[in-house]
């Protein structure tokens, strides 16, 4: 069971998407796990063959417990060394939490074959509508339950919230992570006002001839700017673990996304500094959609090396974030607003953006933070170079 967040202690295995004997490749989604932050798709971090399934659907297990065995490709011999599916990754991420060899659960094993055959869509629908799959006769291949079977027995509209997302649980998880942050991280805070007029004019030019689905939003520009500035500001990009800061070479920007009806997730856009504005736009749209549909991936939950929070183009002038441990910084952007601004001795109307940085004093000082924010400002004055 991988750790999908600083304060995750356990997760419930909801569904296996692979069975023993299936070949899997690195990055492939093999299972769905339910956490306090909703259902998360778990990726495999090795190329190999699925061996024994150690945890059956419906079982809640602590972080670090192996979920299945996987025979890593390239190993030969009749007795392949099993590798735990997710904990290997967890061990890397958590440093001290190295799992032991996979141990079969003490609970009596449930035979996998007993499980009702059903398509993933049907499984999701059934869970949403509280229908027991075992009670249905399936009309799909091999008697598998498919979504039309579910629809046939239920005329109820699907719940507006996805299954598994319990808002009270999510609030607990957010509260625990933020309490830990405020307890352990000596935050310092910086803020600056950035003249966004050139960037807004750049976006206006860029979007003028584009159909709506190819338009770029200011959010994508801000993600790119922060990611590029981090290349020269390594003290804000990485993890603080076991008393030491480990900077990350990769820049995975966590983007805070508000969920409809409440709650918050901050999944990663991987290697954001290398993506074009169009790529970032597509990645953001994809993340927002999957955050709200409850289909984020484990790596997206684990990998952010910094978080960016922006309350969008409505609402407030500024936002100062709380660092999400084990990260060491969070950048906040308020709403761009037209303000009277002094330019060359004259007062002019300009689009002004309030940018903030909350960072970890165990890792950096205000001076470094000021340079980082100044770098972001400078880049936003030359948007054509982004």
């Amino acid at each position: 069971m991988p750790s999908l967040g600083a304060d995750m202690e356990a997760g419930t295995l909801v569904e296996w998407l692979k069975k023993p004997g299936d070949a899997v490749s690195r990055g492939e989604i093999i299972a769905v796990v339910e956490t306090q932050k909703g259902a998360i798709e778990i990726e495999v971090f090795e190329n190999g063959i699925i061996g024994e399934i150690l945890v059956q659907p419906g079982t809640k297990v602590p972080v670090g417990q192996p979920l299945a065995q996987i025979t890593v490709v390239g190993e030969t011999g009749k007795a392949p060394a099993p590798a735990a599916v997710a904990p290997a990754r967890t061990a890397i991420m958590e440093g001290t939490r190295a799992p032991g060899p996979p141990v079969a659960p003490a609970a009596p094993a449930v035979t996998a074959g007993v499980r009702r055959l059903a398509s993933p869509a049907a499984r999701k629908l059934a869970a949403e509508r509280g229908i027991d799959l075992a009670s249905l006769s399936g009309s799909g291949p091999g008697g598998a339950v498919i979504s039309t079977d579910i629809a046939a027995v239920s005329k109820r509209p699907p719940a507006s919230r996805k299954p598994g997302l319990d808002l009270a649980e999510m609030r607990k998880a957010i509260g625990a992570a933020m309490a830990r942050s405020k307890r352990e991280i000596p935050h310092y805070y910086l803020g600056t006002s950035i003249d966004l007029s050139r960037t807004m004019a750049f976006l206006e030019r860029t979007n003028a001839d584009r159909p709506p689905d190819r338009r770029v939003m200011i959010g994508a520009v801000l993600i790119k700017t922060v990611a590029l500035a981090l290349r020269r500001a390594s003290a804000f990009n990485g993890f603080f673990r076991d008393g030491a800061f480990v900077p990350s070479k990769a820049i995975h920007v966590g983007v805070a996304i508000a969920l409809r009806g409440g709650g918050l997730v901050a999944p990663a856009i991987h290697d954001a500094d290398g993506l074009s504005l169009d790529d970032l736009m597509a990645a953001t749209r994809d993340l927002v959609e999957r955050s709200r549909a409850g289909r984020l991936r484990g790596s997206e939950m684990m990998d952010p090396t910094i978080t960016l929070t922006s309350l969008g183009d409505r609402g407030v002038d500024s936002v100062v974030g709380v660092i999400f441990p084990p990260q060491v910084a969070i950048v906040g952007f308020g709403r761009p607003a037209v303000r009277p601004w002094v330019v060359g001795g004259r007062v002019e109307p300009r689009q002004i953006l309030q940018a903030s940085l909350a960072a970890d004093h165990r890792v950096s000082d205000g001076h470094a933070g000021a340079l980082f924010l100044a770098d972001i400002d400078r880049m936003l004055q030359e948007p054509d170079k982004l």
């Binding site: 709506p212 338009r215 409809r260 749209r285 969008g312 409505r314």
Partner: protein, 82 residues
Amino acid sequence: MNDDIRKTLAEEIVNIAPEADVAAADPDADLRESFDLDSMDFLNLIIALHKRLGIDIPEADYARLSSLNAAITYLTERRKPG
């Protein structure tokens, strides 16, 4: 004509904000506030309206979709041939 635009607009708002009760909403209230549409939601609404109604909605005109009524007026205007 107008009804068709009204219906499409309501459907697309619900696609983005499943909990929205468009019929019960104040048609002159701020559209994005009424249905809690963030900038990405709003862009997705524009994309959907563009696709379904075949109406070009330039970015400079976003402000004209400020309420349900304003949006219906604007979209009806834009759809008129010529």
